[in-house]
């Protein structure tokens, strides 16, 4: 599979971002190798948007190091041409048509594939000559994505791009994205607070909660490294000593443990299950604060 020696698209070390009264990011250290589709997950207010804005150069870090495609984000046209950023509000000129936007892109970008946008919109049935403000949310999201991809960036940063889309539009959007990655030379980071959708498309995950990184790595590796143990209520010190306990739910009759494995589990009283991405994320967030159920609502339903 993917070598862990792939060149790195994003590398941050101890990245912090403070506003006047609020700490948006705290000592964030993440690595995203090239060619990945990375899911940036976390509850609202965790710092996902801030992280994406710092990576794209729209915001400056307070402290720490940021390296995007080999160097710090800058205003250098070559850097700007190699990254694409799609903000949550899908910023487009409402009074301009899709064709106008294609023209703007052609004038402002050195690398631009206008025919790609037109062909994409045609296949989705999105009109080119209507003001963008009259298009539906899903159509605007597809247009914005096509425009961002038309400049052929090497890194794409997307902030909650599918939050306001219906399931079909969501599926089409993500498929469009994965296709672009399949063509090669593209790394994607997309933030979301809906985990279930992303599991099949993403192969890398960054979990942010309370402005800190809880998880960062290849999804397959992380899932293989964790297990859920279900068993009778008993003393679990031995297990906790040998492995890393992430989250525990204890009732009088039963104990459920989410552990990060350190070798095989020796205790036969426990039934071992594999973990899915959603359960893993919930487990790491559950250790953050309070009962797991609160976070279940947050992620399961999505806002």
């Amino acid at each position: 599979m993917m070598a862990s020696r792939d060149p790195v698209a994003i590398q941050t070390r101890g990245l912090s971002k403070l506003y006047r009264r609020v700490t948006a990011l705290s000592e964030v250290t993440v690595t995203v190798p090239e060619g990945r589709i990375s899911a940036l997950i976390g509850p609202n207010g965790a710092g996902k948007t801030t992280l994406l804005r710092v990576l794209s150069g729209l915001a400056r870090p307070t402290s720490g190091e940021v390296a995007v495609l080999g160097g710090p984000p800058s205003q250098d046209p070559a850097f700007l041409a190699s990254i694409g950023f799609l903000a949550q509000e899908l910023p487009l000129y409402r009074r301009f048509t899709a064709e106008d936007h294609i023209g703007i892109g052609a004038h402002l970008n050195s690398r631009w594939d206008g025919p790609y946008v037109r062909q994409r919109l045609e296949s989705l049935g999105i009109p080119l000559d209507q003001p963008v403000g009259t298009l539906s949310g899903g159509q605007r999201a597809q247009l914005a994505l096509a425009l961002t991809l038309a400049k052929r960036p090497r890194l794409l940063l997307l902030d909650e791009p599918v939050a306001a889309l219906d399931p079909l539009a969501r599926r089409q959007f993500v498929a469009h994205l994965a296709e672009a990655v399949a063509d090669g030379g593209l790394t994607v980071v997309l933030s979301s607070h809906l985990v279930a959708d992303l599991e099949r498309t993403c192969d890398h995950v960054i979990l942010l909660a309370a402005s800190r990184v809880q998880l960062c790595g290849e999804i397959d590796t992380l899932l293989a490294a964790h297990q859920v143990l279900i068993g009778p209520s008993k003393d679990t010190t031995a297990i906790e000593r040998d492995h890393t306990l992430v989250h525990a739910v204890r009732t009088p009759r039963q104990t459920t443990l989410l552990i990060r494995r350190n070798g095989p589990v020796a205790d036969p009283a426990f039934e071992i299950s594999d973990v899915g991405l959603e359960e893993l994320v919930l487990g790491y967030m559950g250790q953050q604060a309070g009962p797991a159920s609160a976070h279940l609502t947050m992620i399961g339903e999505g806002q």
Binding site: M1, I37, A178, E179, V181, A196, R200, D203, E271
Partner: protein, 130 residues
């Protein structure tokens, strides 16, 4: 051409589902030697699955000798899945029926039997990779 259907809720990982669906298609005659598999791009467009997942599945199929990539043209079917020798299925089915009978007599219901089977399969897999 074959089209893949991925079940997000299955315990089987997506890449394995693709491998299994290709094997099944070959067994059923939907796919035959010389047919072209959908490109990575086509699979991704249809299922929104990660491109590396498809690559992994096709690599596994190549390793099993079922498919072969041809530069610039695509991935083509070159073999059929080898079945077990005739009579193996019926022999194993008989010993399994005996085991199920003793398990039932010991008081296990279907669910416990399935659970036991899962645990045993997992342990065996771990032994193989160890």
């Amino acid at each position: 051409m074959i089209s893949f259907r991925l079940d997000g809720r299955s315990v089987v990982p997506p890449y394995l589902q693709i491998v299994q669906q290709v094997r099944q298609a070959l067994r059923m005659g939907v796919l035959d030697v010389g047919d072209k598999l959908p490109t990575v791009r086509e699979v991704v467009a249809a299922t929104a699955v990660n491109p590396n997942t498809v690559l992994k599945a096709y690599r596994d199929l190549e390793r099993e000798g079922l498919v072969e990539p041809r530069a610039g043209l695509g991935t083509f079917v070159v073999g059929r899945p080898s079945g077990p020798p005739p009579g193996t299925h019926s022999r194993l089915a008989r010993s399994l029926a005996q085991w199920v009978h003793s398990a039932r007599e010991a008081g296990l219901d279907d669910e416990s039997i399935e659970s036991l089977l899962r645990i045993t399969l997992r342990a065996a897999a771990e032994e193989e990779t160890a």
